[in-house]
């Protein structure tokens, strides 16, 4: 009780020093807090408690406080966290305060749904190009973007500094798009198709699988 941890320097006490990479778990959780905070701000919320963050993220409130307190004392006891300032603190920690350009593949229902959503824009991702193979769709306007032909992929990626490729094409066409993205030097692929994509190890694929979450939710409902 009296023993002071002045000299001690456990790794587990290090928390996150500048220049150190966050652990996978911490980065994932901070991203989720940011998502909720961004939406809470839209809804006009000024403060939020760790309990409320927990309700929305299903992450334990103690862990949320712990994650945040590793970087500073952002909260106010008895009140909670200021939404605005916590958004900017987390953005600083995740170093995603800037703008990043993404390209969207597929101008079908899913592609159009993504293009018209705020979800990427809210987090600093700007869709700078949209592609499709269908000649009857190429050239049409979607919001402020003209749908382009796949042939322009390499040029657009280079000119617009695209860092993420979002695949919203049918499963049968997804691997071909991924191959082209890899050739163009894109290192992050976001896959909304069901296709299992083959890519070199330096490229990260994130496959969005809503049915997985559903299976999981159902298990706890049934048992």
């Amino acid at each position: 009780m009296i023993e002071q941890a002045v000299e001690r320097h456990d790794v587990s006490d290090e928390l996150i020093v500048d220049g150190e990479r966050l652990s996978l778990g911490v980065a994932a959780r901070l991203s989720r807090y940011l998502q909720v905070l961004t939406q809470a701000r839209k809804m006009g919320r000024e403060t939020i408690s760790s309990q409320e963050l927990s309700d929305y993220t299903h992450i334990n409130p103690t862990q949320i406080r712990r994650d945040l307190s590793g970087f500073g004392k952002f909260g106010k006891r008895g009140v909670g966290y200021n939404v605005d300032s916590l958004v900017s603190e987390i953005r600083k920690i995740l170093r995603t305060a800037g703008q990043h350009n993404i390209a969207l593949f597929g101008a079908g229902n899913l592609g159009l749904a993504i293009a018209s959503s705020d979800i990427f824009a809210d987090h600093g991702f700007q869709i700078v190009a949209m592609f499709d193979v269908d000649p009857s769709v190429v050239g049409t306007q979607v919001g402020s973007l003209a749908v382009r032909d796949f042939g322009e992929l390499g040029k657009v990626v280079a000119e617009q500094e695209v860092v993420v490729g979002v695949i919203a094409v049918p499963a049968t066409a997804a691997q071909a798009v991924a191959d082209r993205l890899v050739d163009a030097g894109v290192k992050i692929i976001f896959n909304y198709s069901e296709q299992l994509l083959q890519v070199p190890p330096e490229v990260t694929v994130h496959t969005s699988s809503p049915a997985v979450d559903l299976l999981y939710a159902l298990y706890f409902y049934l048992t």
Copy 2:
């Protein structure tokens, strides 16, 4: 080395006995394996190794073998796991071998994209009803389903034994749909809008947040 664990019965050795609930983590991981296996089967794969499952799920191969070996010896050394039989084993473990009915709200781009996807059907979820508020859309045919008016929600949920409500409406309309689902007794809500939904504690909300994964991927790309 010689010591045999005959009498020992650590909790950590219990693994999962019948009738016991899986831990959150195990259930989530098994669901992900199932997603990959289902797709691998579609692609005509007969066997798959823990290493390949790891490539697709980003889950450590040792942990995959560990998770599976808790329920039986499903693999063949030097070969891997039989895709077909592993799919049925995991379905048994997750008790999701049956069919479950879901209702879809919103017949916009996102709703249409979901309705035309195989992803839910592949895992035994059947979309039995589709709803929209727009009178010009109500009554139109989407695949084998007629778009219905929200007023029929309660009746349809009861008659068709709907266990999951999928929300694919604009953020501003999402809470109203959630309220109606709660009134109708639905306990699992799948939220594709950005809205933070308020529901009673016995209802589970899963919000799909693609931008979260993107932030997370970007962090490791930038650092």
